[in-house]
Point group: D2
Chain length 384, copies 4
Amino acid sequence: MNKRKICVIVASRANYGRIKSVLQAISAHDRLELQLIVEASALLYKYGNVIETIEQDGLKVTATAYSVVDGENLVTMAKSTGLAVMELSTLFDQLKPDVVLTVADRFETMATAVTASYMNIAVAHTQGGELTGSIDESVRHAISKLSHIHFPSNDEAAKVLYQLGENPERVYITGCPAIDLAANAVSQKTENLFELYGGTGYPLNWDKPYIVVLQHPVTTEYTQGAKQIEETLEAVRRVGMQTVWLWPNVDAGSDAIAKRLRMFLAADEGFPVHFYRNFRPEDYVHLINRAVCLVGNSSSGIREGAFLGTPVVNIGTRQNCRQRGENVMDVQYDSKAIYDAIQLQLAHGKYNSVSLYGDGGAGERIADILSSCDLSITKSFFHV
Amino acid sequence: MNKRKICVIVASRANYGRIKSVLQAISAHDRLELQLIVEASALLYKYGNVIETIEQDGLKVTATAYSVVDGENLVTMAKSTGLAVMELSTLFDQLKPDVVLTVADRFETMATAVTASYMNIAVAHTQGGELTGSIDESVRHAISKLSHIHFPSNDEAAKVLYQLGENPERVYITGCPAIDLAANAVSQKTENLFELYGGTGYPLNWDKPYIVVLQHPVTTEYTQGAKQIEETLEAVRRVGMQTVWLWPNVDAGSDAIAKRLRMFLAADEGFPVHFYRNFRPEDYVHLINRAVCLVGNSSSGIREGAFLGTPVVNIGTRQNCRQRGENVMDVQYDSKAIYDAIQLQLAHGKYNSVSLYGDGGAGERIADILSSCDLSITKSFFHV
Amino acid sequence: MNKRKICVIVASRANYGRIKSVLQAISAHDRLELQLIVEASALLYKYGNVIETIEQDGLKVTATAYSVVDGENLVTMAKSTGLAVMELSTLFDQLKPDVVLTVADRFETMATAVTASYMNIAVAHTQGGELTGSIDESVRHAISKLSHIHFPSNDEAAKVLYQLGENPERVYITGCPAIDLAANAVSQKTENLFELYGGTGYPLNWDKPYIVVLQHPVTTEYTQGAKQIEETLEAVRRVGMQTVWLWPNVDAGSDAIAKRLRMFLAADEGFPVHFYRNFRPEDYVHLINRAVCLVGNSSSGIREGAFLGTPVVNIGTRQNCRQRGENVMDVQYDSKAIYDAIQLQLAHGKYNSVSLYGDGGAGERIADILSSCDLSITKSFFHV
Amino acid sequence: MNKRKICVIVASRANYGRIKSVLQAISAHDRLELQLIVEASALLYKYGNVIETIEQDGLKVTATAYSVVDGENLVTMAKSTGLAVMELSTLFDQLKPDVVLTVADRFETMATAVTASYMNIAVAHTQGGELTGSIDESVRHAISKLSHIHFPSNDEAAKVLYQLGENPERVYITGCPAIDLAANAVSQKTENLFELYGGTGYPLNWDKPYIVVLQHPVTTEYTQGAKQIEETLEAVRRVGMQTVWLWPNVDAGSDAIAKRLRMFLAADEGFPVHFYRNFRPEDYVHLINRAVCLVGNSSSGIREGAFLGTPVVNIGTRQNCRQRGENVMDVQYDSKAIYDAIQLQLAHGKYNSVSLYGDGGAGERIADILSSCDLSITKSFFHV
């Protein structure tokens, strides 16, 4: 019997952590063949050179495509999407996958869904139906409308997919694969990550408490990026605790933020902050699992954070409508509010684990379903 | 007061007829400035050189972009979408429109919606919410999820947009601008179009009855294109009446169909069939208004046809779920069934006019709304 | 021992005939591995679907790339070059060839040379150093300046390469592979090609004399294409002999010519002209070997024509400075002059064979050299 | 009388300094209209945000194009060239220039020359005919073969253009516009540039002697970039003098070098080195005019350096064959040799000014010639 060819596109640092357990489950599955395309910022040094991590994890990369047009603004975000479509169409034509599996909601994900659906290839999608209230949400829903097979994280998300008119029989509530890594990681021994990874900045002490900051640009508030990061910087400086700061991802506006961070790094030499570009996904879980507080606007605080019980200070609009556990405290772009929330979270400490976004078995479930589900590319609208 | 800059993208022959009355209304509006981009197959001779028609109609083209990658298959359809995104991003960056208005559901439309939404430009969309049961429908819904302002044709379509989670306050039921042309045209005197346009094939007599055939490839049934057209050809040959045949549009599969049509043209020299690439939109309305039957799978049979009362034989799956009037008779890809349906329609004659897709005033309504409506680019999901 | 990987790019109908014997020799060579990329117009039906011919000839295609931006004008010619560079860079990165072999002088050839040389891959080039006096010549010399290994057709061409500052040790005078096919073909029995190939137009008689017309647009005289073809059409009509007409290639201006030809085909129904898109290279040799005269501006009249002794009427500037044998009569774009020259050539009949552009052994020579030559990518300018 | 439209493409930091005096002369010329396109790395913050400098200098930017595909390796260098061709073809089609003026020899320059020559636009080129012995030289000569009007720096370069077969009547020895800036700048008062520009690193003293380092990756020695920079770093550290270090440009390999430099910056905190991304062209001249030694492989050491008399230590192969004055001392990638050469240059001090690459009046000469010269796009090969 021919194996089904499942083509997975990893386009960024975030993508990889959210799909790794699926990649491993597909690789190990005897009725599936993995075609792994690594593209976009996942190939770039400044976004953490994710391809290296992937290969170190023992996964074989089938093809690569450079598709990021440099500029990190709204024009180049659009242009990068177009370039990704052009590159992926050539690769899909070579690889002739039975299914293309695309992850979440970033602009590279859109390129994948457009290309595959136009080429009459069944599209499977993780994280569909989640509400977050930004361009990411619009893109996520648009991808759902182009997708044939859905792997939402939970019941709430599935309900949104039903309302969007998707066929309930093709909606499989599997949990999010990102939680698989979290579940796995917390059961393993942790190394001293500060020693393991280079980064730049003040040397940190692994045995002392630290906070983690990860704040991405909000593309619909493009011009306020530098100002927004300023508020966070001020709050963090005032808190005065050891700080692990992760570079933002490739969205429009990241350049302005990065510039501001470099200035901070240069100016506040004595402050105990250390900057990192990338962690292996499991190490990232360890990092935030041990953090006394996660500050910023990363979805990982809400999603993995719920499972890990990490106290989170979530800033601004980026995660606006996302379903969240008690571990998340929401604040505006305001240094005082951020500072106060961090203090409250430090006082509270760890929260209980909640399986909001999955229980740790998503990867195997998704691989199993892909090995046997209907791959038809016809769709029709389901009225609620 | 600054005029609002409304950028409209005309990408194909079909696009133009469906937006022309809006273009004219925007041009004439004292609070709006029209930015007209002509791209994709609308620039190509073999698809009717639509840009020439546009300029003859007195509209000023602001910019053009060649974006069709030659090949007319699924790979190049995807690649053309990518190229359109790359080109449009440069043009939007130059033109800085306040709104981008995109038409219907073809792949070029998707490129427009992706580019504008990623660039934080408000996207307005016509024909959203219609159900048709093919990749076009998926694309249409995906575009709705990226759009901010909706101009659906009728209540049914609006209800679909509500279910998709769109904000009802930003859904304006205006009717479809294509019907404006139909309403206008039927009140005007008709010239002899057979004399006016060149085309190739047997010379036809404008004063005798004729049928019109327009059958596009169905991209999700890509490989069956030649076979499908064969059934239609056989039925038409058997009917034996004067036939106006329109070349299919640029979708994947059109090359195979065109090849088959050229063979027919070469082989059946005595048969009264004449091939045309393009009519001015109004002339197209006249053409199908006077036709004794419209055969194929064009949406114009269902949409303009309802208004004009033209008898239609609709073949295959392309218009599957589209809301239709009594003038439409549906058949499969089967020459006998097609032949029988044509005979029934010839026997029936004209139907009564029905305002299913609009009443003729959409263009002015849309321009008015665009001059005053909220242009915010934030969206959130509305639960039904 | 590892085989050297030789990547050959076939981008058009003309390309294939000029490199086929090399492809066969590389395939058969025990120290070489052939990587065959088919791209651009060689993938398109309307330019003869060359990829089908290639596969019928038993050659294995390694990868394909759609790279023609539709429009057939100067803008899309440039854009197609850019797209080819983008596509080829992805493919070269996958295939990691030791040498990229590029053919002659068309715009796709430029894309190949730019991509390979920027990627530090040794570039080998056939037909370098020939003088022809158009943009093709400029492009050909530019490619030579980016190439590392040269396979010119004859001493004259080699001298031009020396003047261009190329290293004489890397210039191998092998003859042109196109002549290999000619030499081979004339020794074989000919089938009735008029029966074998479809085409459109008047049915021709294989046993009666015929002329062949092949006239490409001259891209630097872009706007005069239709006018120029008009003169030829008039002369051919006046000659009144059976005529085989070949569609021009994909250069800017071909659309206007094709349009004019279609009009001719429609209007002059009784005239014995038949149109073809493509012949297998060997069949093309047979075709012009048997023709009583070859009319137009194809280099094949001058190059293969010299070897075959076919009488040629060469029109206009496209082959201006190309070294030629006695079989070529040059005329301007003037119907009277073209008519007179055809009459003179019909009166003269066949010429003696001359080995101006090769003797029939180029393919094997080139394969042998590629298996052992220096592949260094450093170059320096040689003063004459 | 219509003004001639001269379209100049500035694609990088280096481009701008080498063409600025021409831009000013065209702007001021009453028979010329300047169309200024800024593209590629000239738009990017990390390469010095050159567009800001241009606008501060009072020049009006006509259009921009993002064309750098991120990755800074050989694949993306090729891909960026392709993207630039695609973008420029759209812009040239809009702007319809009479002449496109392209600068020197980088990959973006190639894109400009290919696009313009394919679009039948006259191409003018500065710095043609110079010998430097790397891929840059091959590209420079290829561009000359696509260009119609040549503005070489000196007699030696003109002789190379003659050998390349260019028409001597279209070769104008004007000197290099880069020297215009140098001539101008030395006559003006200097500010304290260390205060004026930000940069990162150790604070330097403007009144004390300093050396300048500028070492680009050599794309044909792509993999050795980090190793090569290592040798220079060691030598500079051993010299121990105040050091101004400029970030390398966008060529393949720059990422690896930048990474190594950041490590150095982080590790050797006490060392008096300061890093800068960009200087206004005149300020760059001041900087190297005052430097006691310029170290690295920038052509500015050889070209502007000859005029300024700055002692130069030129490392490696990048400027191999370039014609040079006595101020240049050549060494290999060897820390000891670099150290020794720096010491010798420090001991020697300033050299006499030599007009090898121009005398300061190139900008006005070029504008004058462009206003009246033949713009024909036909070319033929001139035998020497």
